[in-house]
Assembly symmetry: C2
Homo-oligomer: 180 residues x 2
């Protein structure tokens, strides 16, 4: 994984990909699938919505750390599989053949198979909504990866794959933050 | 516009499209571009992140109503144009040739050119984050529209268009909410 400038990390989540969220509860690493995410500003601050019905909730709220990992289309069955079983009774890294790489600032692991990873600290938990405010503290991208198309969950069991990319940089130049 | 069951409205935003948010401040209708959105549950409850630097902020917080409209790829220059000028000095519906259709429950208009619209009430505003919690109260979709591919803002001035759609309904059946 290559280092990615933190001020570019929001561009990983702004398009709305389905992601994995890795945690470590001092016993073992775990990972869940999340599609309810939101960029909050340009400083790698993100929100996710989840709750105590997810086994990862206690690790996130207890350790106040996690890693957001961005999978690509070749990982669709891993993404769906991770989202349809529980860390309560499953070692998901083992079951899905995922590689837990050491992160720099948090104990939660990077997911080696993913296109990108963002190490996050929990800044706040907004109840009763289950909104977790995350501050990215380091970001990583696999620059050598050929497959870079991400997945967008529709919520009905189907997923939209990234298609063509359109460029409106000129029209938007005055609105773009520095560094992107 | 055809009525869409409210329990399906989250599937409009879950894939993470860039959207328009229409308001009416009792003087005139306005519209802004938002890419920082999040589904919060299956009941058409959404979060958006914005703030007082947007002219629409005072209409959203003052009237506690808005409409989320989902544009498609043919509207990319409208989406970018709306996002790069201000309702402070521009009638954006007029400038971009948008059709303000009457909504059923809110004074903010539906955007006639869009694929879908969700009428929303403001349920909460989570400061200091500028997170606005919205409760959808009616949803509409243009069932006759041929172009249905939405846009995903990357945040660097480029946009990813919806590509192919993959079906994992069988794997996910136990996780899908009723009605989708």
């Amino acid at each position: 994984m290559d280092s990615l400038e933190l001020e570019r990390a929001f561009t990983l989540l702004e398009p709305g990909p389905a992601v994995l969220v890795a945690t470590h509860d001092d016993r073992r690493a775990n990972v869940m699938t999340i599609t309810w995410t939101m960029v909050m500003d340009f400083s790698a601050r993100f929100a996710i919505t989840t709750g105590p019905w997810n086994h990862s909730w206690s690790a996130i709220t207890g350790t106040r750390e996690c890693v957001i990992a961005v999978p690509t289309v070749d990982l669709i069955d891993t993404l769906v599989g991770v989202g349809t079983c529980s860390g309560r009774d499953t070692d998901k890294f083992e079951r899905f053949g995922l590689t837990a790489l050491p992160a720099r600032h948090v104990r939660a692991p990077l997911v080696g198979e993913c296109l990108a990873n963002v190490e996050c600290r929990v800044e706040d938990i907004l109840e009763p909504y289950g909104i977790v405010v995350l501050q990215g503290v380091a970001a990583w991208i696999d620059g050598a990866r050929r497959e870079r198309r991400t997945l967008h969950a529709v919520g009905d069991g189907t997923f939209v794959v990234d298609g063509e990319r359109l460029d409106r940089r000129e029209m938007m130049r005055a609105k773009l933050p520095p560094g992107v």
